[in-house]
Symmetry: C2
Subunit: 142 residues, 2 copies
Amino acid sequence: MMISTKGRYALRVMIDLAEHPGDYVPLKEIAQRQEISEKYLEIILKSLVREKFLIGQRGKGGGYRLSKTPDAYTVGSILRLTEGSLAPVACLNEKSEQCTRVHDCRTLSMWQGLDKLISEYLDGITIAELMASYQPGDNYII
Amino acid sequence: MMISTKGRYALRVMIDLAEHPGDYVPLKEIAQRQEISEKYLEIILKSLVREKFLIGQRGKGGGYRLSKTPDAYTVGSILRLTEGSLAPVACLNEKSEQCTRVHDCRTLSMWQGLDKLISEYLDGITIAELMASYQPGDNYII
DNA sequence: ATTTATCCTATAAACTTAGTAGGTTTATTG
DNA sequence: CAATAAACCTACTAAGTTTATAGGATAAAT
């Protein structure tokens, strides 16, 4: 299992906000609609605000809204942010120290191929394409 | 991070055994060569034997060997066995109960697409192709 | 009988996930 | 200006998964 609830929830929130444009949408409303615990959602929204994916407006009438148009967010960028990395194995992760067996690793290029495949797929789909209202041809292939 | 050490170790063991054909190879030898703890390796080998991927021979001169030729094992089949599932999200897992939001899930077909992509890639590569000695064209694309 | 090896059951430390709790700050509105 | 509604912040925790470890029982060859 690769993608945790955190990443999946984040995606759903972004789609939810894309489907409710205009005013700021309060956390409570998103939580209810998406059936996510308010406190847990708070953590997820915080990271999305920190990375400027969302704008959080305090005070009465406040809430959250997208900072860009839905077509400007790729699924990959959102998942990479919330999951930390999309690499299918630890050794491909930037942060992890170099594997000592790299010199004659039989599997490295296979993993790199998988990594590239996943990234290209997820970076090729935007929030706009996941919205219910979106029309111009479902571009990603099942 | 999707693939744990268990799956990665299993792959390395299968390749190791493919590269050392003929006699039975004792666990201790694999563990040393692959730098994997003997006790942990035991657990991994046990599951591979249970699924008939390997034959385990007890007693003096015993050890492990492949039950089939290296081209008969796909990377996908080995990882699916040791990891349990290759599904990138819980809702695609056979065992997990149906998600209550399935009726208007915006992301389901996107996840299904990713799942298919991953499975087809990993089922398209065999242990034979990962062996150092293997010649007939590196078939998988990086 | 001795050696070498797999096989089996149980335990545990470390890490990650998924979530809770309670309070602080900011902005709007009546 | 006070009440209210909202985001923001810090800390904690329960549960599950990963990554092993320990100690022995069983089997086969010499």
